[in-house]
Symmetry: C2
């Protein structure tokens, strides 16, 4: 029997009271825990490997990896050493650090579709840069995106929230993920004004089961882009590095013209990247995108260290094995406790839903029961594994989720 | 006589060759040195105080402060200690670090117009968030911006570059900086659809002399916003903290409804912030903006350390004294060498142009001569001073600029 903690400690409650005064809503964006469950702490004070600690000193085994960034685990010593060493020399400098060149070379060497790389800070910086580049390359305006797909929280692609105008999204045309006919219809609607087809490597919209890409759909989009002269943009931000170091569609043999990456690039340091083909070199050179910290040396050094570590070849198999062990264990527990569940997506980016649980009420109650037992997972957003998820960690997690299933009865 | 270095060393040339292969144009955005001068190195390997070092080991006294971020100087020990200490605990976590609350409290305590703060990564994240919030608050669409003013390199406000569509900027209406009549005319054009008036604390467009704000203009915009029910947004990104810790218009007694900050917030670590009034709390809570690294703890800890240091009260007077010393010295040198120059903007954010030098050819030649003598400054963008600019540093800079003026004859 795992220990059950009372909901929200005194430290958490005090921080929430203070935060409500000086931060809109106490917290904003995807990290606002208000909708996750009553037991999810808003505040975290530290992380180490696969463990995070809240403001009351409670430890959680981490299945979110900070929503993706921690691919090697929290506080990975090699990355921390690279950060510390780069800090000794300089971070944000007047000129670019040589580490930018070294890291761009390593990305180009790792990603077959990449002939060059450009760095930024947010995933949405990267996707926006892809779209602007595609428009510059083609002299056209229309952009195809899958209905419901998240490409960032900026006006041109925002899925929700107030303050967005019709003009912001005037040139978006929607298709259905994995439905090539709908993409062809959207392209026909764009006519000779089609600049880009933007697509995620799989369907990972929140509040629905994940859906792997149909290889024929991926190949069909490639053909559609070639036939129409549009630019194929792979929004690999959420899946970066976890499915394949060469890009998430590399195993399918479908190469994008431009790709956007972020999240785990630098194991938690703020970094995004765009890579592209030689054919788009002039176009990306003709646009103007920049930011004060886009070539800051410390995140780039962290990125270089992270990719170097990933290329050693141990981290991805660890994540896959851990993910399969977790999936098998959860399936067995659900069966034992009499719950119908559906697990979707690649095992290293799992999503769990309950059968018939349309409003995610059961998922929320289960996530709350998990949080109270020291497992941090999300009721309606995919989770992420890291190289710190050893068999022992997974077994510890499973012991606790068993208690959560039992409590759900 | 100061030593003159030959243009571009072997290390720089080798890095440029490598960068051209894997980075668009060898570098992109504001840090692409191609247009600065033939002697500006693209690459920097380290920074310390007011000194930066290029890939050939050449030292430069730094008048750009990495385009603003380094307000306390490169590698400031207090900030570095805060970064290192926070790294020991955690950086990007599943939840928000308590340091976000502590830092938001300090910003709210420091900035009289601020009742709350929200964090992001880029200056353009911050300004975009202000505009979206203003639209949410008013249910209106039109946004007034000064012609030529830089608010970021994102489609809705981009000043240059390919790939921008008319729809991206469909709701922008332009006024002339410091011309209240033009702002009133723009507001009239917007009619009952006016959401926001966006303004920089001074006119700091590139390739022109800087222009301080006319206090009557600032007050007039405040009145115009109040009369029309529009939101007054101060884009304080470039001027953050250098003119007044309470916000750049605080000395004028003109308080914005929303303000955007970035650049030196965290002395080089990637961070932006929005602050706003109580009246806009609901509106900012109704929009959806977020980013994977927006509440990363390390940059926030660096921000907290930077603002704490600035509030000790020594840094701004140092910058002002240094800036005045530099301005006086440059004026005397120009006179001696027979050049007509114009120095504009606040002394801690100086801009120097040559009389009649419309294409900045003389400025470029002088900046090149300065770079060859180990002073890093820009021919057509304002410079930035830091707390590391002691009298001794300024005198050393002046000795070298004297050589640059002499070489220009």
């Amino acid at each position: 029997m795992t220990a059950v903690q009372p909901t929200l400690g005194a430290g958490e409650r005090a921080l929430r009271d203070r935060a409500r005064q000086v931060i809109p809503g106490g917290m904003y964006g995807h990290m606002n825990v208000a909708a996750f469950s009553a037991a999810h702490p808003q505040f975290m004070v530290s992380g180490n490997g696969a463990t995070v600690v809240d403001a009351d000193g409670r430890e959680y085994l981490d299945l979110m990896c900070s929503w993706g960034p921690m691919i090697l685990g929290h506080g990975h010593p090699t990355v921390t050493a690279a950060i510390t060493e780069q800090l000794r020399h300089g971070d944000c400098l007047d000129g670019t650090s040589p580490v930018a060149v070294e890291y761009a070379e390593l990305l180009v060497d790792t990603i077959p579709s990449a002939d060059w790389a450009l760095f930024c800070k947010n995933g949405s910086d990267a996707v926006t840069t892809c779209v602007t580049t595609a428009r510059a390359a083609t002299g056209r305006r229309k952009v195809l995106v899958a209905r419901g797909a998240y490409h960032g929280a900026v006006p041109w692609c925002a899925l929700r929230g107030e303050g967005i105008t019709e003009s912001d999204q005037a040139h978006l045309i929607h298709y259905e993920y994995n439905d090539l006919g709908s993409a062809e219809a959207a392209a026909a609607e764009a006519g000779d004004d089609l600049a880009a087809i933007v697509v995620c490597p799989m369907r990972h919209d929140v509040k629905r089961d994940q859906e792997l890409v149909d290889p024929a759909f991926a190949r069909g989009l490639r053909t559609l882009a070639d036939r129409t002269g549009a630019v194929l943009v792979l929004d690999d931000v959420r899946c970066t590095h976890r499915l394949d170091l060469g890009g998430s569609w590399e195993p399918l043999g479908v190469r994008p013209d431009l790709a956007a990456y972020s999240k785990p690039l630098a194991n938690g340091q703020p970094l995004g990247a765009v890579t592209g083909s030689d054919a788009l070199r002039d176009a990306v050179g003709s646009i103007y995108v920049t930011g004060s910290f886009w070539t800051g040396a410390v995140p780039l050094a962290a990125g270089l260290a992270t990719l170097t570590e990933l290329r050693r070849g141990e981290a991805l198999p660890v994540m896959e094995r851990a993910g399969q062990r977790l999936r098998d264990g959860l399936a067995a527990q659900a069966l034992t406790h009499g719950f119908g569940i559906h697990q979707s997506g690649p095992v290293q980016m799992p999503m769990l839903s309950f059968t018939g649980d349309e409003n995610f009420r059961l998922a929320t109650a289960w996530a709350e029961a998990a949080a109270l037992r020291g497992v941090y997972l999300h009721p309606w957003h995919n989770w992420f594994l890291s190289a710190a998820h050893t068999d022992e960690v997974i077994d510890d997690i499973l012991q606790r989720t068993d208690g959560a299933f039992a409590a759900l009865r």
